[in-house]
Amino acid sequence: MVVRHFRAWWLRLAGLFTAARRAQDFDAELEAHLEMHIEHNVRLGMTPEEARRHALVALGGPQVVRDTYRDRGTIPLIESLAQDLRFALRMLRKAPGFAATATVILTLGIGANGVIFNFINAVLLKPLNGGRHAELMGLYSGDRTRPDAFRLFSYPEFVDVRSRNDVFAELFAESRMPAGVTENGLTRLAIASYVSSNYFRALGATPTIGRFFTAEEERPGSGAPVAVVSHGYWRRLGMPADIIGRTLFVNGQPLTIVGVAPNAFHGTLPGLPAEFWLPLGGASLTAIDERFSSITDDRSSFSLMVLGTLKPGVSAVEAQARLVPLADALEAAYPQWNRNQRLLVQRQSRVNFGLPPSGDTETMIGAMVLMAISGMVLVVACLNLANLQLARGSVRRQEIAVRLALGGSRLRIVRQLLVEGVLLSGAAGAVAIGVAWWGSARISSSISSLLQRDIAIDTAPDARLLMVIGAACVLSAIVFSLGPAVKLSRSDLVTAMKQVGPLPSARRRRVSMPGVLVATQVALSLALLVTAGVFARASVNAASSDPGFALEGGILVDVDAAIGRLSEAETRVAYARVLDRLRALPDVRAASAASIVPFGPARDGRFVRHQDASVAATFTVVFSQYFETLGIPIVAGREFTPVEEQRITEPVAVIDRHLSARLFPGRSPLGEFVQLARGDAVDGVPLRIVGVVPSVRDDILAAANAHIYVPFGHQFRGAMTFHLRTAPGLETAVMARARGVLRSVDGRLAVLGVRTMTAHRDGTPDLFGVMLGATLFAAFGLIGLVLSAAGLYGLRAYLVAQRTRELGIRLALGATRSDVVGQLVKEGSITSAAGIVVGLALALALVQLLRQSGMLYQVSALDPAVFALAPLTLILATVAASYIPARRALRIDPSAALRPE
């Protein structure tokens, strides 16, 4: 039975291709049939004409037979789908304006989602390192008595775990560090990674050319002067075949390049892969920061992240359980360092590296919220199109009615309209793929220019993007076609064919489908506009609220003497001379230097203790004139002196009001002593407080916090940022002169970057995030606003046009034009008011949700400006959308309006 069905199906399928030949065959058969029948009739005594006529009648009309035959001959669904497609194309060609509008609307909707999805796809979904990244596990050492206390691993500890565990297929160690790389006499900042020798093997990478590291090179203290460079670095050099053996200067040390990593190798942190890899043994040679120079054989120096891949069939939970005895053994053997330490295994994040362990769940949720918001744009677009389809339907109602009357099935007509929808959304989807690629590439390139580094985000469209866009096309086609299609195919045949509009006042429903569609669009657009508004507010707040220091005319020059291998004494001399020269430059009002820049990525914190009180504060090492250069007024006491900048006369400190209020509430801190501490360990001698300054904000999206400043004479730092103050407008000239000064004082001083304070602020990742949010949502909101206003306009224009006669009567009966216009605008406003009420509720919920991200700096959940302006914009747009058609309708002469009856 099954076989027979299959055979029948197969024949039909084959029939698709042999249709022509088979039709001929059938014609021949009918021909033969006719001839024989005529002969037979003649034998019965009819005349030839009579015989022929009888035969034809008996056959039942050759065309009908042929049609029935054809429906059986091929798979009707496929064939009629092709028919639908051809018909849809014809219909759309007949309405090019509609087709173009619909495609543009859908492209906006699908494109907005494509951009967001493609970016999320690149960051969170695409397989990395040939799929290896998904298997990557992070190993963490946590204190079982303090749930949030994690530490890194020491090298001997890592070796113990690597050699004594039975759950990891590979276990490797890594320490990422910013490093100065010198090329053609210029030093730039790059990310380098110290890695164990099995790093590349564990990540499934093979060298493009050359080799990776040996076990000997891994041994701390080996001082192996070798490096592996990224494929991108090699490409920028023009892919020289002789790259192996070339010298690379990292932090002033010459290293020999031994290998090139493969293309598209992401390392352990996909977005920001290292540019150079050095063996762990190289740390003793190249590291200038104590965090990295402490990669030694010492068990007390915790400096390594440890990651690995599990053996087949071992889950993270199981691995963690099987590591308990090992952690116990380490604790027993090295109680000093391993007391209470347990080993945790957790899937390695795609967006975070380091402590504490973090998964991608939060990022995923953020991504989902973003998708949901961009999804609203698509919904608005679909609803808009649904209304367009309905409006067009009133034109097509006749055509559809005729088809129904001629025996077309309703299903077939609905299907026909769906095919038209898919055709439109398909065209939009094709464009949207390009939009998605372009848009996400734009986002990633602006992030890259913000970070001033290459970021490895692969935004090329992949199967996943095509699937999502395809799904968006089909879903939106269903949304915007199905409702109208069902409604139109239900239309009353007789009324429709008579082509007389229904008497509108006769049975007007209070809630109409187009009205609901428009109201929903208004609601969603309002939610989008409010979201855009709060983001814009947040970015304005963040950028304009007083940072506590002057931005205008400020210039920053990042210098690191350690990269050039200057000793402390040499650095002090060089920095003093640099400052002397900078202060002497024309147009420079003040100049200083500091270890930390507000809004910058680097942080340095200490606990500041006074008696029993201990307060966490930002710790900054500064030169004299610092507060003057930053425009921070001295509230009490004094600044540091040029002498304190050079050597310790007496340990002194300046604190800010915030810290003063916490440690010395209600009294002057001048002359009091504080003690610095790191964790539990006291750090240095007590400091006498000589000055008090107002608080500055370290983070652009945070409130001011406590600060303590000590002079350069007290604490040495190789890496400093020089601050200059000039008159606004003169920055460019002064920046060039500052560079010249640094070069002339000591060529070994690595200048890592020169920028204005304003550019520094604008380049803050936090601010960038908020501004990106504001831009994206403003675009979404604007699309929504335009679409819903256009949608309302279309609906009102259509309704008013239908009621021309009624309006004419009312005018004739003595209503004034303004009465009628008022009435019409009021009707339109009811629709949009419903949408605005729902939209406000939606917006409130959305803002609540977004506030939890911490991005909405100083924006209240009910920001009055946003919650007043956004609805007002929509109200104005919708009133205009109702007013214009009403106006236009009334331009007609009442008697003319009555005449067509």
Partner: protein, 109 residues
């Protein structure tokens, strides 16, 4: 006259199979034979006949070939396949059961 061919879709199929069980014949002959054997009651419209013939051919119950007719014209001859014969036997049994059941009910008591 009613349109018995429309009575039950399967019925026409069974009638065609039964007719062709005697010997291979072309479409016209099938129609004439049906008419004659039913005592001029069944007048199968050719618009139903050919689609049915072709459907049965697709289902593998009939096979068709071009042959010369007794009058020397080329015509498409249909004959029963083995599957067609089996199908016919089943249909006959079904029909007998059904018709005897119906006549038992309709018999005036």
């Amino acid at each position: 006259m009613s349109r018995p061919a429309d009575l039950v879709q399967g019925t026409l199929d069974a009638l065609i199979l039964q007719t062709l069980a005697l010997e291979p014949m072309h479409g016209l002959a099938v129609a004439q034979r049906l008419r004659a054997r039913s005592g001029e009651v069944l007048n199968v419209s050719r618009g139903s006949l050919y689609p049915a013939l072709h459907k049965l051919e697709h289902q593998g119950l009939l096979r068709a070939e071009w042959r010369l007719s007794e009058s020397g014209k080329r015509a498409k001859y249909y004959s029963l396949t083995r599957a067609g014969a089996r199908h016919l036997a089943r249909e006959q049994k079904d029909w007998q059961r059904l018709s005897s059941a119906i006549s038992m009910i309709l018999k005036p008591t």
